[in-house]
Amino acid sequence: MTEEKRKLMDENGIRTDGRRWDELRPLKMEVGVVRNADGSALIEWGKNKIIAAVYGPKEMHPKHLELADRAFLKCRYHMAPFSVDERKNPAPSRREIEISKVIREALQPALFLEDYPRTAIQVYVEVLQSDGGSRVAGITASALALADAGINMRDLVVGCAVGKVDGKIVLDLNDTEDKEGSGDLPYAFMPNLNQVTLLQMDGLFTLDEFKQALDLAKVGGMKVYKLQREALLKRYFSGGGPETSTSTTEMMEEA
């Protein structure tokens, strides 16, 4: 982590984007945005714009990797070349491969894969615009897309990052805080089962700060969970139903 170049929090505890330590960035979710997919969701979290789409259960390719007793969960996290300040090479980077793996492992505990033997369930996470915390936003959207696809689930999975900025533990880092802050802790959990399914960390945390960070991630995550549930309910219980799904074009407003 690079040393902090400028102050990321003023004397009143206000962060670079005007938030307090325990506030989330503006967060919006919509379920059912990719018509062809079995399930999908768009999440706009700060400047993040991420679509998750789920196909499956479907036939497993390659066939010899299919599992006799459960579905094979596949996950691809990918960033669009235009999603960051400098154009990103579209080929999957080592970072994207690692994130694909941890997202898959964060979602898997919530799924009853044993209900779909010999099949594949594919989760695509496409980052159209990236801000801090794209992996946790991707997980949050993926859980919605899986629910939308009707995959049997034990619980939703909620992602939420915490971090350390100017020596303080803060909720939901933005891009600047992620790059210039002194610690980042992406976190995902199943809110009703109280199980942590993703935890990564860099930076420096004392044991007390670490405990504080885990508590804050949970408090913040519960706010995300509330919006996640509302997005699902809106899709299925607001008189609309799956046939009247919005398209991505309708959903994304002009910047």
Binding site: R95, E98, V102, P109, V196, Q200, D202, L204
Partner: protein, 271 residues
């Protein structure tokens, strides 16, 4: 996509889980006990630093090569420190040669993060001419034999090799980088120690063997520095932890980390 991996028989799986329910492990260790850790440094003469580490039957070899290099544009006055890890196809029966799969990429990136985030090496002092020339430190690890907990074995090898590395002293003469022939140690600030804990059927075990990894639900790797601070972490595998289990893992990591750091310091002959 998960590649081929070690398969453990159902009967062994049941044995491991049953023993754990009584607080025992098949190899007789306590739940929070590390396997025998052996470290031998200076094993490769042509490397600037090297270390052979065995953790139980897991064996890894780290080698450091230091040269002049070109800095990244966003950090023009900082040296390069790059950690790579390769699981050799010879290291287990089920492995095959080929490009690194996602597990090998995760391994290299998690070990790299531990060394980087702890700021073990003061990269700011590895600058020769800002924007033009810096020292480049490559630490590459070959995994020779796999028996679980590659994360920690690899990390110990990297840390030991960096601690014993001697870098060439370069000077700038008429805008040309020259090797003075002098050899000096790397600017080491801190010693990060990685500790990996597996969750098997809701029992936490430290330093899992390959058999234990084959039955584990999830694993968590936490790195601590000399001050007992946590400096990097990664949860892996498709299971989960309760928040309380994560705190326990952090406490284990801090306590065991102290003992392991001492052992590595002795092996590397470091202050």
């Amino acid at each position: 996509m998960p590649s081929k991996s070690f398969v453990v028989e159902t009967i062994k799986r049941n044995q491991i889980i049953e023993a754990l329910s009584k607080g025992k492990r098949l190899d007789g260790r306590g739940l929070g006990e590390l396997r025998k850790l052996e470290i031998k440094t200076h094993v490769i003469e042509k490397a600037n630093g090297s270390a052979m580490v065995s953790l139980g039957n897991t064996q890894v070899l780290a080698g450091v090569k230091i040269d002049k290099g070109i800095p990244f544009p966003d950090t023009p006055n900082k040296g390069l420190l790059i950690v790579g890890a390769e699981v050799l196809p010879m290291a287990a029966a089920y492995l095959e040669a080929g490009p690194p799969d996602e597990s090998a990429i995760e391994l290299a990136r998690v070990v790299d993060r531990g060394v980087r985030e702890s700021e073990m090496i003061d990269v700011a002092s590895l600058c020769i001419k800002e924007g033009k020339w810096v020292y480049s430190v490559f630490c590459d690890v070959n995994i020779l034999n796999v028996d679980g907990n590659l994360f920690d074995a690899t990390s110990y090898a990297v840390v030991s090799a960096l601690l014993t590395a001697k870098m060439p002293k370069f000077v700038l003469e008429n805008d040309v980088v020259k090797d003075t022939g002098e050899r000096v140690p790397l600017p080491v600030h801190k010693i990060p120690i990685s500790v990996t804990i597996a969750n098997i059927n809701n029992t936490l075990v430290l330093d899992p063997t390959e058999e234990e990894e084959a039955v584990m639900d999830a694993r968590i790797t936490l790195d601590t520095d000399d001050g007992g601070n946590l400096c990097a972490g990664q949860k892996g595998e498709p299971g989960s932890f309760t928040p309380e289990q994560i705190i326990t893992a952090a406490e284990w990591s801090i306590a065991r980390g102290r003992e392991i750091r001492q052992k590595i310091k002795e092996a590397a002959g470091h202050g």
